[in-house]
């Protein structure tokens, strides 16, 4: 049975049709947190976020408080919010920007105050046309009511926020690539070190980059205190988190669950959540945290939804997206499609990723569509090993960013778990399901 008694922190307005409006937001406690934050010293606001132990909700799971403290000793120039949600089957930020844009905006203002930043950017993927409209409207409302602009709510703090549209590139979710894009260039990830935009960010100046969901947690944390947030969940995984459940389940969707207190079995099978698989179908495999993550099988169903719990089993909670594949789905086809995605989205800077992704995709294509050879199975592993030597987890990196080392995850998983399916494709001269 799923544990569903935790408060809804970021999705409290999910059942309200007008959740995105200024009026509804105010009626449900909106902007109280900002008023409270403005009455505190900036470093005390930051201390609450530290106390919450809020892990970044973008995918890497880096503690938000630590990201902030790297900068606290020097002046910070910019706050940039990463809303370039493009990891396949991840759709939680989409929910937040369309359904609760004011919560995001309030979170951004609170973060900007803690960091004493006077200009912030919200980078949203260009495909979120409605999300862009709603966030802009939320900003317009905030300006009109004194929550943005000069002397916010009569305080000494001033802030401008600009919503910035992306234009269709998965790689721009990588934070240094996002900054390049925000500077008006191709979205090429920057060479590391420096590892953190906190050191060298937008226009070479110290910049904090945080995810949309991370920002959306801040109003609740300020209202209720960091300790209340940290009391939820367990271990390093505190608070609640939005999980995006997709694939072969009866009831796919975005669910806010307390960290660690539920398992993959709960979210996939509980009638209040995923509702299980279609009648007569059984679970073949599932991806626990976006297509960059290694796959899990039925044996891992009882793993708790926590960052370290999933990490200990050789995968990651990543972007919070869970993809369910039933026994009627073809894992070779699924793997081919995932590698096709990476091949399309590789920015092309680094040879292992640029060449490797296309090569793997072509091999996967012929396995699925006919023409695959038995030696292709070893060839795939060899190619994967060239991109991420040793095929370990977390992967070894041969490229500037982590897109490259994400390519082998699905190929290696599918081949290890379902080698017979690959062999059947070779023997059949293509997909036996087709």
């Amino acid at each position: 049975m799923a544990t569903l008694d935790a408060p809804r922190i970021v999705s409290s307005r999910r059942d309200m049709a007008d959740s995105f409006t200024w009026v509804r937001y105010l009626e449900t406690g909106g902007y109280n947190a900002l008023r409270k934050a403005l009455s505190m010293f900036p470093e005390d606001v930051a201390a609450q976020v530290d106390a919450a132990s809020l892990l970044g909700r973008g995918g890497a799971g880096f503690p938000a408080g630590r990201k902030w403290s790297m900068l606290r000793r020097s002046a910070i120039s910019y706050l940039v919010v990463n809303g370039d949600e493009s990891e396949p089957a991840t759709f939680k930020d989409h929910y937040l920007v369309e359904r609760d844009p004011h919560q995001l905006v309030e979170g951004v203002i609170i973060a900007a105050y803690a960091l004493q930043v006077t200009q912030a950017f919200i980078f949203l993927r260009g495909e979120f046309a409605l999300g862009l409209e709603r966030v802009q409207q939320a900003l317009n409302d905030a300006y009109a009511h004194g929550a943005l602009g000069s002397k916010i709510f009569g305080s000494d703090f001033s802030l401008d926020v600009v919503v910035h549209p992306g234009a269709g590139a998965y790689i721009c979710g990588e934070e240094t690539s996002l900054l390049e894009s925000l500077e008006g260039k191709r979205g090429f990830p920057r060479i590391k070190p420096p590892f953190f935009p906190a050191v060298t960010g937008l226009y070479g100046e110290p910049t904090v980059v945080n995810n949309v969901e991370t920002m959306s947690n801040l109003p609740w944390i300020i209202n209720n205190g960091g300790a209340a947030f940290a009391a939820l969940g367990a271990g390093r995984s505190t608070g609640t988190r939005l999980f995006a459940l997709a694939g072969n389940v009866k009831n796919p969707g975005v669910f806010e669950l307390e960290m660690v207190k539920n398992t993959f079995r709960d979210i996939i099978f509980d009638p209040a959540l995923g509702g299980g698989l279609a009648e007569g179908r059984s679970l073949k495999a599932f991806i626990p945290g976006g297509v960059s993550a290694p796959w899990f099988g039925p044996d891992q169903l009882d793993t708790p939804l926590g960052q370290d719990e999933v990490g200990a089993l050789g995968s990651m909670l990543g972007s919070g997206s869970i993809v369910v594949m039933d026994d009627a789905s073809c894992v070779v086809r699924a793997t081919w499609r995932i590698t096709k995605f990476f091949s399309r989205e590789s920015c092309g800077q680094c040879t292992p990723c640029r060449e490797g992704s296309g090569w793997i995709e072509r091999v996967m294509y012929r396995l699925e569509h006919g023409g695959g050879r038995m030696e292709d199975l070893d060839l795939l592993l060899d190619l994967c090993d060239n991109i991420a030597p040793g095929l370990s987890w977390p992967p070894q990196q041969t490229t500037i960013c982590v897109l490259g080392p994400s390519i082998p995850s699905s190929v290696h998983s599918a081949l290890s778990m379902f080698r017979d399916d690959f062999v059947a494709h070779v023997n059949h001269g293509g997909c036996p399901h087709a």
Binding site: T118, S150, D156, V162, A246, G247, S321, V323, A334
Partner: protein, 214 residues
């Protein structure tokens, strides 16, 4: 002489003013240019270059990196069907094939009446309603071949005009006013806040040291 209509030109100038550096307005300006011409025409690219203090080659080189920008004319409606993992498991590939038959054009091509361009997209982040379809980057929430055909008929007859504007992601994104915080005010404010914070930190450290002495 501006290539853009007066209203688009005005919005373009407002956009440039939102950023610390002009070039940062590149992507929104390209969206605007596309809204103006339906695609990125040579004239549109030249105007964006002038607005951002770059060259047309630089603008084209940047634009070609991004999937949403069209360097050649496209149909009035760009229909995107997702076939990525969640949609694949829900029949996205089959829906794309069906769309190709309905629109009588290949994936990536434009129909002969120049009304539709069909694209295979990567994940559109709406996976609970898979397979996902967007028209001009508006979700149209159609998942079956029958509802797809009905949606296309609606588009042809103009019944979806209110939901699916012609080109332009930003066409309804209207910012009221530019930046409000004066730059010199930013500098003064930040210096003041930092000084106050340093003073508080020093006071706390001194208090801690005094405590230790006792």
């Amino acid at each position: 002489m501006s290539h853009f209509r007066t209203d688009i030109r005005q919005r373009a100038e407002e956009l440039v003013a939102l950023y610390p550096r002009k070039r940062s307005a590149m992507l929104p300006l390209l969206h605007l240019a596309q809204e103006h011409d339906g695609y990125l025409s040579d004239e549109g690219i030249a105007e964006v270059a002038a607005l951002t203090d770059t060259t047309p080659a630089d603008v084209r080189g940047t634009a070609s990196f991004y999937d949403m920008f069209h360097l050649e004319p496209v149909g009035q409606y760009v229909v995107g069907v997702c076939t990525n993992i969640a949609c694949l498991l829900a029949g996205g590939e089959e829906l794309l094939e069906h769309a190709s038959r309905t629109l009588d054009c290949a994936v990536g091509a434009t129909s002969s009446d120049e009304m539709f361009t069909l694209e295979e997209t990567e994940c559109l982040a709406d996976c609970n309603l898979a397979p996902c379809v967007q028209v001009n980057h508006r979700y149209v929430r159609t998942t079956t071949p029958a509802s797809f055909d009905a949606m296309i008929a609606d588009l042809r007859d103009g019944r979806l005009d209110h939901e699916v504007p012609s080109h332009g992601t930003l066409i309804r994104v209207k910012r009221q006013g530019g930046l409000r915080v004066a730059k010199d005010e930013i500098a003064a404010e930040r210096a003041q806040a930092l000084a106050a914070r340093t003073a508080r930190a020093d006071a706390a450290a001194a208090a801690a040291a005094a405590q230790e002495k006792k």
